[in-house]
Amino acid sequence: MAETVLEFKNVTWRYEGTPKKGRNALEDVSLSVKKGEYVGIIGANDAGKSTLCRLCNGLIPNSFNGDLSGDVFVNGRNIKDIPTAQLAGEVGSVFADPEAQLSQISVFDELAFGPSNLEVPREEIIKRMEETMDIMGIRAFRDRSPFSLSGGEQQKVAIASVMTMTPEILVLDEPTSNLDPIGTESVFMIIDELNKKEGMTIILVEHEIELMAQFVDRFIVLDEGQVILDGTPEEVFSHRDVFEKIGIFVPTVTEIASIADKKYGSWDGSKYPITLNEMLDKIDERL
């Protein structure tokens, strides 16, 4: 059994300035993530997804004002006791807008920035940068300005700049929402590789549910600040009624199977597919 690297214990968070009638951004959330797990976080807008990310990397409570109860542990230590800079080295963060994250004049400097701030020795920084450039396939951009790159390339550099701090956990909050389909797919491939080959623990917030379904081990579904479903893709998508109620899509192939089953009585009783390929395999049996 892999060790727990991230744990929320009865976490409730309320942003400062929330109106009296307004609800808490997170309400009594408890969950734990094991080393090497690939977790997808889904939910409607304002369900608490970004808040959950901010608690993983310590932006809450360090940079946001509000009331926190409960505890968040990273590698067994309470985030309240870990300085933000140090936590940045343990939990890497990537956001929707890579331009907001990049600041240096070249990709090379961008990759050196994080570990330099953590006072990593020079030789070690260079070694990490060389490795990261290969893993991420960005060696060709080494001397270019990050701002001259396409959105997909920028997002890869943003991920790479976090990687050189060698975090164990990577938290990505809608990393593909400003990318075109090619950029989106390349970022998904990179994240998958970091998970499968490098063994990184991944917390991914996205709206691209069909794409996520191909990759994640586990989905956590948030609604109004609470965890309402938590399980494998098959488990969570079997609760189609819940998805309908909270207003998010299940993959189209899952919906087709469900309609065939419930409305047309033409499903053979097997598990509903969650990816296009599973559906096509199924159809091929009779085609």
Binding site: G43, A44, N45, D46, S50, A96, S150, G151, E174, S177, N178, D180, P181, I182, G183, T184, H207, E210, G247, I248, F249, P251, T252, V253, E255, I256, A257, I259, A260, K263, Y264, S266, W267, D268, L276, M279, L280, K282, I283, R286, L287
Partner: protein, 288 residues
């Protein structure tokens, strides 16, 4: 185009070419190459293609933000290049992909009022219209909030609402669904349908093929500055060669239909949603 015969042409793109200048002596970037298109009233057209295919460059010729290198864009019979940008803003509403480029007021309410004030409406009309728009877009509870404090998805709704408040004849939406959940997408789609019913011409630039398949009457496919196809969603998404050239994955419904049609060409090429797909698969006996 089946219905184009009866419908009025609102905008016409004639041999439009745009070259972005680069350093002296080099050739420039050929972003649009002889594009010809017509847009009709009461129509939702999706423009799809990868980044760099020319979609946004095309759209910026509609409000005069870019001037053609050669060719013309004619709106309601008048050449856009001969008109002022400020004048075009009333006819062509443009909602940017990144709402941060568009929002600058202190509150959501002010953001909606801004355009209405520019239309020189009376204060009583401005008040009435503002309340109407805040309700229609579900923004009432956050009317007093600062736009910068909102999430990306909500910011986009605010940007759209502020443009729709001015009721432009042509509405350009650049990537409207990014950062939106299902409710947000459904709301956006319904608003587009409503505006269409009211006679407006709507152009949607999008990478969201599910959204395009659901709401567009017509799909224009661009690659490398050229229009490579112009047809109904079912025509476009079932053309595997065009999809491949444009590097676009069709929605899962059409991907299933295309897969079946490779072996059984009697599978119909029709407008598909999840329900119809389930029904057709049932009739073909492909599930049980």
């Amino acid at each position: 185009m089946s219905n184009s015969a009866e419908k009025k042409v609102i905008a016409k793109v004639i041999n439009l070419e745009h070259v972005y200048p680069v350093a002296k002596g080099s050739e420039g970037i050929h972003a649009l190459k002889h594009v010809n298109l017509e847009f009709y009233e009461q129509e939702i057209t999706a423009i799809i293609g990868q980044n760099g295919s020319g979609k946004t460059t095309l759209s910026k010729h509609f409000n005069g933000l870019l001037r053609p290198t050669s060719g013309q864009v004619i709106i309601n019979g008048r050449d856009v290049a001969k008109r002022r940008v400020s004048e075009m803003a009333k006819e062509v509403g443009y909602v940017f992909q990144n709402p941060n480029y568009q929002l600058f007021c202190a509150t959501v309410r002010e953001e909606i009022r801004f355009g209405l004030k520019n239309l020189k409406l009376k204060e009583s009309e401005i008040k009435e219209k503002t309340v109407e728009i805040l309700d229609e877009f579900g923004l009432r509870s956050i009317a007093g909030k600062q736009p910068v404090s909102l999430g990306m998805g909500t910011k986009k709704v605010v940007a759209l609402a502020s443009v729709c408040a001015m009721d432009p004849e042509i509405l350009f939406l650049d990537e409207p669904t990014t950062g939106q959940d299902q409710r947000g997408k459904t709301r956006l789609g319904n608003l587009a349908l409503q505006m269409k019913e009211a006679g407006r011409t709507i152009m949607i630039i999008s990478h969201d093929m599910e959204f395009v398949a659901r709401y567009a009457d017509r799909v224009v496919v661009m690659t490398k500055g050229e229009v490579i196809m112009d047809g109904t969603p079912e025509e476009v998404f079932s053309n595997e060669e065009v999809m491949e050239r444009a590097m676009i994955k069709p929605p899962q419904t059409y991907a299933i239909a295309n897969h079946i049609r490779d072996k059984d060409d009697s599978f119909p090429c029709v407008r598909l949603d999840a329900d119809l797909t389930a029904k057709l698969l049932t009739e073909k006996g492909l599930l049980k």
